[in-house]
């Protein structure tokens, strides 16, 4: 009897030890409500971890984190922000810890860092949005978009938006798009904005008929009733993945790894779907309004290569558009 009790107790203690606990400091660019849902889903699996969230724009989050690093005491254990190129910059400075989650096996390697320092968590495709009150038959290709009359298009500026800078790198490496396409846009008096939110507002508000914007914004707006529609152009779409990465030398590696596992797991991907994002784990249905992952034609390029030419690309764009 006593041995049995000891055995049970040992097993219980062992279980408790395996369960991550303590505090996990998360820096994220997820909107307030989404961040809360993400944390709630994680806590349902790991109730003993207290997640402290700092949330703001990707730009604010990363610049605060980088300054903390420079000052010698980073305050984040896990980062969850918009795009892979940002993580490439962090990786190049040895700020990330490699961790290959067992859950990553189910995910297309395109969305994972080969060295395991970060992994995508969802699909955010850049598409054409149009105002349904101004446009009845929308264009279906990037090429036709650039041939529209002057003053018809709004897009985020790569000088201010990390996602737009990523798109610039990918698009200019594609034979069918390339710099010629951006030169055509520059001639068409494109309205440049600081970010995707402003582009959606400009299109939905009727300032311009078309916008180049990350897909979930117009899809959500259209579900709520805004006069916007979405086109996934024939040539394909550049995709950012809101990756997650573990900070090198963090205070709670166990909880940090559990958090990465959770985001890539079926449960975590379902939470993303419930928030209205497209999952990147095959076999999980996309939310209403999105195409299926299998039907998506993704334009991509080597992440390290993109990071290498990022500054030069941005500068060429700024000169071309007279910024």
């Amino acid at each position: 009897m006593r041995t049995l009790l000891t055995l049970v107790l040992t097993a219980l203690v062992g279980l408790a030890l395996a369960q991550p606990s303590g505090t996990l400091r998360l820096y994220t660019s997820q909107p307030e409500a989404d961040a809360a849902a993400t944390v709630a889903g994680f806590n349902a699996l790991h109730p003993d971890v207290r997640v402290e969230v700092f949330r703001s724009g990707t730009e604010q989050v990363i610049s605060r984190f980088l300054l903390e690093v420079e000052a010698g005491s980073p305050q984040a254990d896990v980062l969850l922000v918009a795009d892979a190129p940002t993580f490439e910059l962090l990786k190049a400075r040895d700020l990330l810890e490699a961790y290959v989650s067992p859950e990553a096996a189910a995910i297309d390697a395109v969305y994972l860092d080969p060295d395991g320092t970060y992994a995508g968590t969802k699909i955010l495709a850049t598409v054409i949005a149009y105002n349904t009150a101004l446009v009845t038959e929308p264009v279906t290709t990037w090429a036709d978009l650039a041939a529209l009359p002057a003053g018809s298009i709004a897009m985020p500026s790569p000088s201010y938006s990390g996602a737009a800078a990523y798109n610039l790198g990918v698009n200019t490496r594609d034979d069918r798009i390339g710099w010629a396409w951006y030169e055509a846009l520059a001639g068409a008096d494109v309205l440049l904005f600081q970010g995707n939110g402003a582009v959606l507002r400009s299109v939905a508000g009727g300032e311009v008929p078309y916008g180049i914007v990350v897909d979930f914004l117009p899809i959500r707006a259209s579900l709520e009733g805004s006069p916007v529609g979405v086109v996934y152009p024939d040539e394909g779409v550049p995709v950012i993945t809101e990756p997650v990465g573990i900070v090198a030398g963090n205070a709670n590696p166990e909880a940090a790894r559990a958090f990465v596992d959770y985001l890539l797991s079926e449960a975590g991907q379902q939470v993303a779907v419930d928030m209205g994002y497209m999952p990147l784990r095959p076999g999980i249905a996309a939310p209403a309004g999105f195409p299926d992952l299998a039907d998506l034609m993704v334009l991509s390029a080597d992440a390290a290569d993109l990071a290498a030419t990022r500054d030069a690309d941005k500068e060429r764009f700024a000169t071309l558009f007279g910024e």
Binding site: F54, G57, L89, G197, L217, S226, E323
Partner: protein
């Protein structure tokens, strides 16, 4: 001065107060600025600054829009003050409140409201377009003029409040004497009142210049589409490039902004030297009757100031908040209260953020006003020697919020006082607000001190009163109304602060501005607008309560100063 004498001076109540003041100023302003200087002293960054054509272009643009804004806002502010504080204009109380709205709404949301009013698809633009039958909008807000217009709207309440503080202290006998001598209203305004208000006019010019120089929201929303780069947008670009030298470049640019700020302050001190002390009396304000011009004047003031500048954009913001989804025409079937329900009932962080913002803005207002009361006294008596101190106070306000916030990160990540951990707490925000908005309190109070005749103090001393007694019975009663205006300026600005909060608000340290920023960023423009309307409503209710308390106090105590 012997050591004993210095020791006695420091040990006196005034000396102690001053020492405390300097200590606070060290942490709110001096240390963060020093961290920026440290970063900016970098050969590569400085070379970039000199060689980069963008930096040159941004500087020229920034100087141009800030100067134009300062001149326009102060001129319009002076006109508004005359209309609302000197003429018996019907409905002036309502107008006065309306005029403050642009100060309460975060600049980003204010700009979106104006885009709905005068933007490419705005109400006025559409009407004008169909009126003249033009195929394209006849103007665009995405331009240098659009930026100047919006910055002026944003700075107008600042100019108005600063100038009101001056007018309150102007003895009516001066104006009455001029009137008896046969001066008409125009001569009176230009030849008599304006010279007497000079310190306040200069204070208004300085404040509106700095406000325009450091504003990021308006310049980003209108300037990026216009491809009109300014210092705040370039600084933001450098910081968020996340490249190795990015922050050093941003710090160098931030220090570049100190040059115009320094020049403006030097000019202010020079021009102020000739200003006269006014024997201040607190009497009932003068109001000129308008006679049969009463109603036409009121109609004009309401249409231009109330309707075009404030109500139009505000109604456009209200409609955005009421519209089911962004971009739908504001027809009845598209309107409902869902965004208000969301903000008030479902947004968990709202009650916390409201509480934080009220406490932070209130705390910052009280601390900054008291600090500025003392600083203003010291600075007035020190002339040009005071410029460095004045710059220390004004520079954090001239810097874009993101730079100042990052400087605070560098200052407080490793506490400068061991054990004092403020990072990630609301207390760091309080510190940030005091440092950032102290300039708002100092300018009107500095101007007020300049008009206090030193003979008042001397008379008190001769009568045997101690420093504290002179302060309490002679100086404070004169200064009290200006202290209130200064506190109000800080409170209104800090209440919906956005750029600093977006970087420093930590876990459970939310503020209203941070909340607005988050909604806006997630693409929920309607909800951001609803929250902004709620902010205006909360302050409106607070304002009514304050007015009620004042009236009640006046009724129970008898006639009191206005």
């Amino acid at each position: 001065m012997s050591f004993a004498r210095i020791a006695r001076r420091v040990a006196s109540p005034a000396g102690l107060a001053l020492a405390g003041l300097v200590a606070v100023l060290l942490f709110t302003n001096a240390l963060p600025l020093w961290r920026l200087v440290e970063r900016a002293i970098d050969v590569d960054a400085l070379r970039w600054l000199i060689e980069n054509p963008q930096a040159r272009r941004a500087s020229v643009h920034s100087l141009r829009v800030s100067t134009l804004t300062a001149l326009l806002a102060t001129a319009l502010g002076a006109m508004s003050v005359f209309l609302l504080e000197r003429l018996a204009l019907p409905g002036r109380r309502g107008l006065r409140l309306l005029l403050l709205i642009p100060l309460i709404v975060p600049p980003q949301i204010l700009t979106i409201a104006w885009l709905g009013w005068l933007g490419p698809a705005g109400t006025v633009t559409r009407a004008a377009q169909s009126l003249i039958g033009a195929p394209r909008p006849p103007w665009t807000l995405y331009s240098e003029w659009g930026i100047v217009l919006l910055l002026t709207v944003f700075a107008l309440p600042v100019a108005y409040l600063t100038l009101t503080a001056g007018l309150q202290r102007l003895p009516r006998s001066v104006e009455e004497a001029a009137r008896i001598d046969g001066a008409n209203v125009l001569t009176l305004g230009l030849r008599v009142v304006a010279p007497l208000l000079r310190p306040y006019l200069l204070a208004s010019l300085v404040l509106t210049f700095l406000a325009a120089l450091g504003n990021f929201g308006i310049q980003a929303l209108l300037g990026i589409p216009a491809r009109f780069i300014t210092l705040p947008t370039l600084i933001y670009q450098r910081i968020t490039s996340f490249s190795a030298g990015g922050f050093a470049q941003a710090a160098a640019l931030a220090l570049l902004m100190a040059i115009p700020a320094l020049f403006v302050l030097w000019l202010q001190v020079r021009l102020n030297r000739r200003s006269d002390a006014v024997e201040s009396q607190l009497d009932t304000p003068l109001r000129y009757p308008l006679g049969r011009w009463r109603w036409p004047a009121a109609a004009l003031a309401w249409t231009l100031l109330g309707g075009f500048v404030t109500l139009g954009p505000f109604v456009s913001m209200l409609l955005t908040a009421l519209t089911r989804a962004y971009g739908l025409p504001p027809r009845l079937e598209n309107l409902d209260l869902r965004h208000f329900t969301f903000v008030l009932m479902e947004l968990d962080a709202f009650p916390r953020a409201l509480q934080h913002s009220l406490l932070l803005a209130g705390g910052a207002a009280v601390i900054a006003a008291l600090m500025a009361l003392a600083l203003g006294y010291v600075l007035t008596r020190s002339g040009q020697r005071g410029i460095p101190l004045q710059l220390l106070v004004d520079l954090p306000y001239a810097l874009p919020g993101i730079v100042f916030a990052l400087a605070l990160v560098l200052t407080w990540l490793q506490p400068p006082i061991p054990g004092l951990r403020l990072y990630g707490t609301v207390w760091l925000l309080l510190l940030a607000y005091v440092g950032h908005y102290l300039a708002f309190a100092l300018q009107p109070l500095g101007a007020a001190w300049r008009q206090v005749d030193p003979s008042l103090e001397e008379a008190g001393r001769i009568d045997g009163a101690s420093t504290l007694q002179v302060l309490r019975h002679v100086l404070l009663p004169i200064m009290a109304p200006t202290v209130l205006v200064a506190a109000l300026l800080v409170f209104l600005n800090a209440f919906s602060e956005l750029s600093i909060s977006a970087l420093l608000a930590g876990s459970r340290a939310e503020t209203l501005g941070w909340l607005v920023f988050g909604l806006e960023q997630a693409g929920n423009t309607n909800q951001a607008a609803a929250l902004s309307v709620v902010l205006v409503a909360v302050l409106g209710v607070l304002g009514l309560i304050a007015a009620g308390v004042r009236r009640w106090a006046r009724a129970s105590v008898g006639p009191a100063p206005p």
